[in-house]
């Protein structure tokens, strides 16, 4: 089939040669749609991801933590915006992406459907959820679509502070009072498995993976990235003297990797399907802010129109 479409050969050749695809380049429609799906999902995840932590800004336990958390959540808005910008180069508007998010047609990382119940969750999210996200994003700095790769580079630069501030929260809790330690362990217990799920289904069960690898939209497989995350996190948890909730977790000398237990995929699909605590809340929150802001956006547009008219008249 490739022979019938010379552009396709040319396109694949570029990708095989590690060149980036840029917005004006010819690309297969499926590549474009695949990217829109993945990039907008990524953008939505940043924006929806503001909520579980954002809920703690008002009651952060110290001024310093409040400021750090606020700037972190602000970064997530920024990252969402970078990614929407990059996605728009594929011929879709932010308004369309928002509509798809709100209608449920477009997804966001399912982990944000879990509730953040205590302050320790802010630490665990920064350390584990952002940690997992970074492993994925570092890999995506080499993704084949230029604007996506550049957004990832910018995001990775900013994101390392996110994971560190999360870990720093965990360190303080782990060194703190019994109640603080307990809070920290409880948060790890609840966020560990969902963090592993963030990398998506096993390679063998992943619907979009193969084509994405061929087009180098994805650079490493779900299982590879997950393993990398586990390997780097175990030691960090040991330093906290807290435990990862997996009895099967142990070093495998032969593989030079950690073995770990089987993920509860039933839970994963249940939460994606809408059976998480916060599926409805997250979208409702987004819709509410969007609706309440409609008059503001309309006013800004109306004002710009009037100003342009006055300029013309003058």
């Amino acid at each position: 089939m490739n022979d019938l479409v010379p552009e396709l050969d040319n396109f694949q050749q570029k990708i095989d040669d590690e060149q980036r695809i840029e917005p004006k380049d010819w690309m297969p429609e499926k590549y474009r749609l695949n990217l829109i799906r993945q990039m907008s999902q990524h953008a939505h995840s940043e924006v929806i991801g503001m909520q579980p932590e954002g809920n703690w800004i008002s009651s952060a336990p110290s001024l310093y933590r409040k400021i750090v958390l606020l700037s972190k959540v602000q970064d997530e808005a920024g990252h969402g915006l970078y990614l929407y910008s990059a996605t728009e180069t594929l011929g879709i508007t932010r308004a369309e992406m928002n509509a798809r998010l709100q209608s449920g047609e477009s997804k966001y990382a399912s982990i944000f459907n879990y509730p953040s119940l205590t302050w320790a969750d802010v630490g665990a999210i920064g350390w584990l959820v952002d940690g997992a996200a970074i492993v994925n994003q570092v890999s995506l700095q080499r993704t084949s679509y230029g604007p996506y790769a550049r957004a990832m580079i910018r995001i990775c630069k900013e994101e390392s502070f996110h994971q560190r501030q999360g870990y720093d929260i965990m360190v303080k809790l782990a060194e703190g009072s019994p109640a603080q330690r307990e809070m920290a362990q409880d948060a790890i217990n609840r966020w560990w498995w969902p963090s592993l799920m963030m990398f998506g289904p096993h390679d063998s069960d992943s619907v979009n993976s193969q084509q994405s690898m061929k087009w180098k939209i994805k650079r490493q497989s779900n299982d590879e990235l997950r393993q990398k995350f586990v390997d780097q996190t175990v030691q960090q948890c040991e330093i906290l003297k807290l435990e990862l909730p997996d009895p099967d977790l142990r070093w495998n000398e032969e593989r030079q990797h950690y073995d770990f237990g089987e993920i509860d995929w039933d839970e994963f699909y249940q939460v994606i399907k809408g059976n998480g605590h916060c599926n409805r809340d997250r979208i409702k929150h987004h819709v509410k802010a969007h609706k309440e802001g409609a008059w503001v956006r309309e006013a800004m547009t109306a004002y710009a129109g009037k100003k342009a008219q006055r300029k013309d008249a003058a």
Partner: protein, 250 residues
């Protein structure tokens, strides 16, 4: 904690102003009309919270306590912020008008405070003045856009003006303590700033096709810890976690 003197009381007042408004602005994070505004609001909130920290830290050295004790362990009756700062964020019009009122005041106030005889305050004022100049540029711009936008936005902005109008008086009230500090070259005479503030507001409202509210009224009491009903609830939310684990490190 040492018994507060004039200077530490004054610094605490400024700190409380920044703290309470910073807390209110941060409520827009993930709730703004679009991502651009969301990010901008977080920036402004960060400036205010940063200012609060600097001032609390300074007061804490004088009072032999910590910035967090000052922020988290005092009750609403002990908070001495001006009332306008503590009002719930309301709709975007309300927050914009409040911000513009306060930015317009702060830019005048901190420009003067740079010359305070107290070196620490002068340094904080210098940093704050820079931030305020950007804040007022942004909030004034929004005033005009939303005032002269659509019928709906104009009417919301006018309503917000009406609801906030009577709170402005408190910005310009000098009590005995601040007058004394002013005589010592430490504080600024608030009343002196009013003509310039009035002119800046009038100038902006004209451009924004909004009008000065007809009804005037005055509410005050913030400096004496007599607040709106809202502050206590805001502090409940803000202080609860900190207070439920006494003496720990976060």
């Amino acid at each position: 904690m040492t018994e507060p003197d004039n200077l530490s009381t004054y610094v605490l007042r400024l700190a409380d102003d920044a703290m309470v408004l910073g807390q209110r602005i941060s409520e827009w994070t993930s709730n703004s009309p679009n991502l651009e505004e969301d990010i901008a609001n977080s920036n402004v909130a960060l400036d205010y919270l940063g200012r609060a920290r600097m001032l609390y830290a300074y007061a804490a050295t004088m009072l032999n306590t910590t910035e967090d004790d000052l922020a988290f362990m005092r009750d609403a009756r002990q908070y001495t912020n001006l009332l306008m700062h503590e009002l719930p964020k309301g709709d975007y019009a309300f927050s914009t008008v409040r911000q513009f009122f306060i930015d317009s005041f702060d830019v005048l106030y901190f420009e003067q405070l740079i010359h305070s005889g107290d070196a620490q305050l002068a340094a904080i004022a210098a940093k704050t003045f820079k931030e305020c100049q950007y804040h007022v540029r942004r909030s004034r711009d929004l005033m005009v856009r939303l005032g002269d936008g659509t019928d709906e936005s104009n009417s919301r902005m006018q309503t917000a003006l009406d609801e906030l109008w009577g709170y402005r008086h408190e910005l310009f009230m000098d009590d005995e303590l601040e007058t004394e500090l002013q005589q010592q070259g430490v504080a600024i005479t608030r009343a002196d700033l009013q003509p310039k503030w009035d002119a800046a507001i009038q100038d902006c409202l004209t451009e924004a096709t909004l009008s000065i509210p007809e009804a005037d009224w005055t509410v005050s009491g913030g400096r004496a810890g007599v607040h709106s009903e809202h502050l206590g609830h805001m502090l409940d939310d803000m202080q609860c976690l900190h207070r439920s684990h006494p003496g720990v490190t976060w």
